[in-house]
């Protein structure tokens, strides 16, 4: 009687394990391919050139393989996005967690989270055909493709990531702590900024870092609206290219497999992977360092 039941249990366990294993294997596969092609790339291009050359022109006849222009593009759009997402997201989180009534919160939070559900290609065209012309009225020197407009739009896309996760962290701060603040004669703003925010610090920082990772990896918006011109600059008004946008550009083209042009996208992808990997580790360490334990 018990034999078949044991068999079923065993099959279920193995099935679940295989499902879990699948995602691990896929990750390992991706890293493996990245690594393999990246090694191939560095057989042709010295690492020093890759890191120090200030031009990125693998698709031209005179080839340069400096990753810096792509990184500066990513850095620029990410910085602009975070300059939008960080304050707006944090202020929304403070409002939702400390000021909004329960009713307002239950309505507002899901609406805010819808922002994250809009397809990024829509954001891309929104940046290109709506935000850029709008900005051009204020900033006459702004190119049709630039870092500013997709940066801002990307920031708007990231607001719900920052606000939602920060709000969760702030909401988890024990009511007793807030009462302690109020009982000493704090205003709501003082409780929010000097009691709740420090107590929720690790969660808030994690939300920032997740937002940064999202901005670094974002592809569609920058591919559409930032231009495809690698340029080592911190000027947000001119066309640039990010690491992700470059990968799209080459993947979409007719670059033959095994060529150096083909390998560039793996080198770029590997750099990107390392960058977000480091961000994840930083986030993990910060969480561990600043986590307050309440019982």
């Amino acid at each position: 009687m018990t034999k078949p039941r044991q068999w079923i249990e065993r099959t279920i366990e193995v099935g679940l394990f295989l499902s879990a294993l699948l995602s691990v294997l896929v990750t390992l596969g991706i890293v493996g391919v990245l690594l393999f092609e990246t090694v191939g790339f560095f057989k042709t291009v010295p690492l020093l050139d890759f890191l120090t050359d200030t031009e990125w022109t693998p698709l031209f006849s005179e080839k340069h393989y400096g990753i810096l222009p792509l990184f500066s593009g990513t850095f620029l759009t990410t910085s602009i996005a975070m300059a939008v997402a960080l304050p707006v997201g944090l202020i929304s989180a403070i409002y939702l967690s400390e000021y909004a009534s329960r009713r307002v919160r239950t309505i507002l939070k899901p609406i805010l989270e819808i922002l994250a559900a809009i397809p990024t290609v829509v954001y891309g065209y929104f940046a290109l055909i709506f935000v850029t012309p709008l900005l051009q009225k204020v900033i006459p020197g702004l190119s049709g493709f630039n870092a500013l407009s997709p940066g801002i739009v990307m920031g708007i896309m990231i607001v719900p990531i920052v606000s939602s996760l920060s709000e969760d962290a702030m909401h988890a701060v024990p009511a007793g702590l807030k009462e302690g603040g109020y009982a000493l004669g704090s205003t709501r703003l003082q409780v929010a900024t000097q009691v709740v925010l420090p107590a929720a610090f690790s969660g808030v920082v994690s939300s920032f870092i997740l937002g940064i990772s999202r901005a670094v990896g974002e592809t569609m918006i920058v591919a559409i609206a930032a231009g495809l011109q690698p340029r080592l600059t911190l000027n947000p008004l001119v066309p640039i290219e990010t690491v992700t946008a470059y990968i799209v550009q080459v993947s979409m083209g007719d670059t033959p497999t095994g060529t150096i042009e083909y390998q560039t996208i793996f080198a770029a992808g590997m750099s990107l992977f390392l960058l977000t990997f480091v961000l994840n580790i930083v986030s993990y360490l910060l969480r561990k360092r600043f986590r307050e334990v309440y019982d």
Binding site: S101, E179, G180, A183, L184, G185, S186, Q190, E292, V293
Partner: protein, 269 residues
């Protein structure tokens, strides 16, 4: 104001023996939504004395205490009727600033709730939010407050350490120091020793006996021995009503109401 003062000073000694009143509570009704939590409370709470509030769970003790510094307003659906006169003014009057009320009437909670900051910053918090930045002034008040709360000797060498690393009893004394730092006139304590061990409880009771010399103290307690040990007067609450309020010695030896007697003799509660 001035004529009254002279009158008070020149009043005959027998009259001066009578305790001054810190809170004059008149016809206080409190509701949470539809539910009435306090019914027609009328009581005068004396200054420079420990007033204990006792009663079974859910009788409205904490609600009453939290009315005295307007902490209840933080709860949704809270509604209040009646008056609480403190220093000649109804603290629920529209012109009264709630921040001012809470600075003058400090509070310590059931569960120690130090902020996730250093010991020093916990005590300095109430001063910093008032805009006090001078380092030597802060240093002074922090030290004085920690001394008043009888925890200075234990923490003076580690003021920069996180407050959450202290023991429960130490945390509670730190919370008392934090409340004292803003120089309140009244200290409200909501079952301050229910979450800490007996030895730490003893230290806090000792501390209260010292503090009552300079502060008015109102304390909710579940522990009747504690009420008997530290308080001068006792209020017995039952089902949202104030059943009896009198000197503690009278309440515990010769209560005027049968229900009080039932409670203190342990027949229920």
């Amino acid at each position: 104001m001035t004529p009254d003062k002279t009158k008070a000073l020149s009043a005959d000694p027998t009259h001066a023996m009578e305790k001054d009143i810190a809170f004059k509570v008149e016809d206080l009704n409190v509701y949470y939504g539809e539910k009435q939590a306090l019914k027609k409370i009328k009581v005068d709470i004396p200054t420079h004395s420990v007033t204990a509030i006792i009663g079974p769970s859910g009788c409205g003790k904490s609600t009453f205490l939290r009315c005295l510094n307007r902490m209840n307003e933080l709860l949704p659906n809270f509604r209040i009727e009646g008056e609480i006169i403190f220093d000649g003014q109804n603290i629920y009057d529209k012109n009264v600033d709630v921040i001012d009320v809470r600075q003058r009437i400090g509070m310590v909670f059931q569960k120690p709730n130090p902020f996730p900051k250093s010991i020093y910053e916990n005590v300095a918090y109430g001063l910093r939010i008032q805009g006090i930045k001078k380092r030597d002034l802060l240093d002074n008040i922090v030290e004085m407050s920690l001394k008043k709360a009888a925890i200075w000797d234990e923490v003076k060498d580690r003021l920069a350490h996180p407050a959450l690393a202290l023991s429960g009893g130490q945390q509670q004394r730190l919370c008392i120091a934090r409340a004292l730092a803003v120089e309140p006139e009244v200290l409200l304590l909501d079952e301050p020793t229910s979450a800490i061990d007996p030895i730490a409880t003893g230290r806090i009771e000792e501390l209260l006996r010292e503090l009552v010399k300079s502060y008015t103290i109102v304390m909710v307690t579940h522990n009747m021995q504690q009420a008997a040990r530290v308080s001068g007067s006792t209020a017995y609450f039952l089902l949202g009503e104030l059943i009896e309020f009198d000197e503690t010695s009278k309440i515990f030896t010769n209560p005027g109401d049968r229900r009080t007697e039932d409670y203190i003799t342990g027949r229920f509660g």
